[in-house]
């Protein structure tokens, strides 16, 4: 007869976005690493995007019994906190000090980050623009962006433009409109269309060229590096108040900022890890150099509505 502990392992239920847990994403390797140390069973449930994760727990009041949400980004943090569905992470300040980014949020913990950028194929586009103003002057460049209402990179672009242009954002959006050939619903749709040749540049991350160079051995894809700076996106995880297994959830949160988890981020999620000193990530940094960063902005609902308003008023 098997011991009871082997038959009924503790369960950790994590809600995340689709690509994280796909067989080519970091999820399966992270699951394996964590299960080796926790003597538990990790169950993933997915929603199709980062925005959909928060909607799901809001709609159900977490009746589905998730312990952790992994994958909402910094632009959703304030809205997520306002739902009152999340518990503080309980990590000490010394734990957070190990991170390579400044972090003092009490509810959410970062697990990776990136910078928004436009990606282009250097074999097709010479002399890429070095600023937004240069981009709007290049009528030969057709760009693909994402809808800020349905995509976090889309919202990221709206934030990026607002950070640089402030009250002039609406005019800037208008000057950009002629070059926007597709406004995709999600990042993956937009990026797919770019790779199919529907645009000359696509809104993505400075880390995207690393994927092409390392996974596809294609070094033609490059990020446009703007001298006036790039907006940042931080992906976070948080523990739910009604988590059935809080102890295990807390253990996973600590694990998320450890080497066992972070090792799988650069070449699994193709984003910057939040701790330094990971082996085998030098190639990743070679193809995904850090750009000039703009100041971090923690968006409130009002901020987001304003950024979206600037964008939508330019297309009416």
């Amino acid at each position: 007869m098997l011991p009871l502990s082997l038959v009924s392992k503790e369960q950790l239920n994590i809600l995340t976005y689709d690509s994280f847990t796909s067989e080519w994403g970091p999820g399966p390797s992270i699951q394996k690493s964590f299960e080796e140390i926790c003597d538990c069973q990790v169950n993933w449930t997915t929603a199709d995007s980062s925005g959909a994760l928060l909607s799901r727990v809001k709609l159900t009041d977490n009746k589905e019994g998730f312990d952790i949400i992994l994958g909402i980004d910094d632009s959703l943090m304030s809205e997520a906190k306002d739902t009152n569905l999340f518990s503080p992470h309980a990590l000490s300040s010394s734990d957070l000090a190990k991170l390579n980014i400044d972090w003092d949020n009490e509810t959410f913990v970062p697990f990776d980050y990136g910078y928004f950028s436009f990606i282009y194929n250097s074999s097709k586009l010479d002399n890429p623009p070095k600023s937004f103003d240069e981009l709007t002057n290049r009528n030969d460049i057709r760009i693909i962006i994402m809808d800020p209402r349905t995509s976090t990179p889309g919202l990221g672009l709206a934030k990026w433009i607002y950070q640089l242009k402030g009250e002039q954002s609406k005019d800037f959006w208008k000057s950009l409109q002629d070059q926007i050939v597709i406004t995709a619903k999600s990042w993956s749709d937009g990026y797919g269309l770019f790779l199919e040749g529907e645009g000359d540049a696509v809104l993505s991350y400075t880390t995207s060229p690393a994927y092409h160079a390392i996974a596809e051995t294609d070094e033609n894809y490059k990020a446009m590096l703007f001298q006036d700076g790039h907006a940042e996106q931080i992906e976070v995880l948080g523990m739910l108040k009604s988590a059935p297994n809080k102890k295990l959830a807390q253990k996973f949160i600590s694990f998320a900022i450890s080497k066992g988890f972070q090792d799988h981020i650069p070449l699994g999620n193709w984003m910057y890890p939040v701790i330094d000193g990971l082996e085998g990530s030098s190639d990743f940094y070679k193809y995904a150099p850090m750009p000039i960063s703009l100041d971090r902005v923690y968006a409130s609902k009002k901020d987001k509505d304003l950024w979206i308003e600037y964008w939508s008023s330019s297309i009416d």
Binding site: E23, T60, V181, K185, E198
Partner: protein
């Protein structure tokens, strides 16, 4: 003289008996009616939930916002445009096919396939041909022709939406044309009447009879083109109500507004279509006539030219299958993910088909029974069957999702998806079986009353035999339609529950284009083999021209 009087008297008594019998009401058959009653209970349950959403929604200002106005405008603009294009081109195609020498069985099989082909397959196929890096652009570059165009936006939406509906309309008109009575044709041949004159004057009523039902179906399909809009909409201005609902649910967690959006769409469709939802007394056959038909009209240069254009239009997206097979990947094919996706697709298709068949047959029985009993309620049976297809499936998914939340997730996700699919399949099955089911109903009623045949016996011994072939054909089509659906699964998928179309879209969204095309090719080949087997079964031992 006496004999004549007796005869008249006898015939008068006979007529009275006949009239009395015809006016007698049929009863019984509760077991066959049960699925329909169950369906009505579900409808009422959904309605209660809807009323509750209205009750909890305090602020209705969103009904007047620009997003909704724009969505409504675009939804009906693209749907009406696609419907007009589909019906006109479908009619032209049906004439070209009617004049051609192709076998009828082959024509209808292909038209059936193009109608039920998975939306993802055709969409990716169209991008493969017409995309900026597609086959056509490469050919233009090869011959140094500087001509570029984009298929994303309204052109792509109309092109792909019409694809399925041209096939549906052509199939409908083709069946009508093949059912033109032989004596009509002989008469026209004797009077040397051209096809144009025949169609515009003599045959107009035959061809246009019940056209409103076709318009209804096509319009509904054109409105419910969520996947096409998702793939081809290039601007936020090209948003349909379904897309706005998806946004409300997935990104704003606002079920109430999503459901009210869905309700608005339903009301608008009903207002547009309610005059057409009448039970017709003339049950014009739309089933395929398989016997030798008298032919007086032959193909000409115009019809052959149009046929080639249509041939290119329909077959060009299928080239994506070759691309898929070229990227053969045995590991992916036998991976746990792929096998599970196929398994779930089959389970969903089978479950939704069973549910839809039960409801459709039961409602057919109800509609005929009420019609035979001269009850005006028969029209309401039809309306109740159609009404659920007017509700956007994404809205329906949202309601069922919330019901499941209240039930503490007692219903498995695959069952919810199966239910949603079945609601959309039911009107199709109903419509397809309706003419056969109603065939000879007056005569049958007489016999049923004379010989006291029970409702169950009438169904199993008469109806079932009558509709058997049509039942197999429509079931196979619905099975494939359900397998290829990618609407409700976008809300109910999980890492362990996904269907083949969802897996394909997941692979496509993760840079794995070759793998996506490969699975797509396998999926399409599976569907073709399945339809081929069903066709062989149906047309076995039937001699067709």
């Amino acid at each position: 003289m006496l004999l004549r009087k007796t005869k008249t008297y006898g015939s008068s008594i006979g007529h009275q008996v006949l009239t009395k019998t015809i006016n007698q009401k049929l009863e019984g058959g509760l077991i066959i009616k049960l699925p329909f009653y169950f369906y009505i209970v579900i409808l009422l349950f959904l309605l209660t939930f809807l009323i509750n959403f209205f009750y909890v929604t305090k602020n209705y200002s969103f009904v007047f916002d620009n997003i909704l106005k724009q969505s409504i405008k675009f939804t009906f603009f693209q749907a009406i445009l696609s419907t007009i294009i589909s019906i006109i081109l479908g009619f032209i195609l049906s004439i070209c096919l009617y004049l051609s020498n192709f076998k009828r069985k082959i024509i209808t099989t292909f038209l059936n396939f193009f109608f039920i082909a998975p939306v993802l397959f055709i969409s990716y196929g169209v991008i493969f041909i017409h995309g900026s890096d597609g086959l056509l652009q490469n050919i233009f570059q090869f011959i140094n022709l500087n001509f570029s165009y984009t298929f994303f936006g309204i052109i792509g939406i109309i092109y792909v939406t019409s694809y399925f509906n041209i096939a549906l309309s052509a199939n409908y008109f083709f069946r009508k044309l093949t059912n033109i009575p032989e004596n009509y044709l002989k008469l026209m041949s004797a009077n040397k009447i051209s096809l144009y004159v025949a169609l515009t004057r003599c045959l107009k009523p035959v061809v246009l009879n019940n056209l409103s039902i076709l318009i209804t179906m096509v319009l509904i399909f054109c409105i419910s083109n969520f996947t096409i809009i998702y793939i081809f909409a290039s601007s936020p201005l090209l948003t349909t109500i379904e897309m706005a609902i998806y946004q409300k649910i997935s990104f704003e967690a606002n079920i109430s507004e999503a459901v009210i959006y869905g309700f608005l769409q339903t009301v608008i469709i009903i207002l547009i279509l309610i005059p057409t939802l009448k039970l017709r007394n003339n049950f014009q056959m739309i089933t395929l006539k398989v016997s030798e038909n008298y032919r007086i009209y032959q193909s000409n240069l115009f019809s052959s030219f149009f046929l080639i254009i249509f041939f290119l239009y329909f077959f060009s997206p299928c080239l994506v299958v070759i691309k898929g097979l070229y990227n053969f990947n045995i590991d992916l094919l036998f991976s746990k993910n792929t096998i599970l996706s196929f398994l779930y697709s089959l389970i969903i298709a089978f479950s939704s088909l069973c549910i839809a068949l039960m409801i459709a047959i039961s409602s057919l029985f109800m509609a005929r029974r009420l019609h035979e009993n001269n009850s005006y309620l028969s029209n309401y049976v039809i309306l109740s069957i159609f009404i659920i297809s007017f509700v956007p499936s994404i809205s329906l998914s949202a309601i069922l999702f919330m019901i499941n939340v209240h039930l503490n997730f007692i219903l498995p996700n695959f069952l919810i998806v199966a239910f949603i699919n079945s609601f959309l399949l039911t009107p199709l099955i109903f419509l397809f079986l309706f003419p056969k089911f109603m065939e000879n109903n007056k005569f049958e009623k007489l016999r049923v009353l004379q010989f006291n045949i029970s409702a169950v016996n009438r169904f199993t011994r008469i109806d079932f035999l009558k509709i058997k072939k049509e039942l197999i054909v429509v079931s196979s089509s619905c099975f494939v339609l359900s397998m290829g659906d990618l609407t409700s699964i976008t809300l109910f998928n999980s890492s362990s529950f996904k269907t083949v179309p969802y897996l394909i879209s997941q692979l496509y969204s993760s840079y794995r284009y070759n793998d996506a095309f490969f699975i797509l090719a396998i999926f399409v080949l599976f569907i073709i083999s399945f339809l081929y087997m069903v066709n062989s079964l149906v047309y076995k031992n039937v001699k067709i021209r």
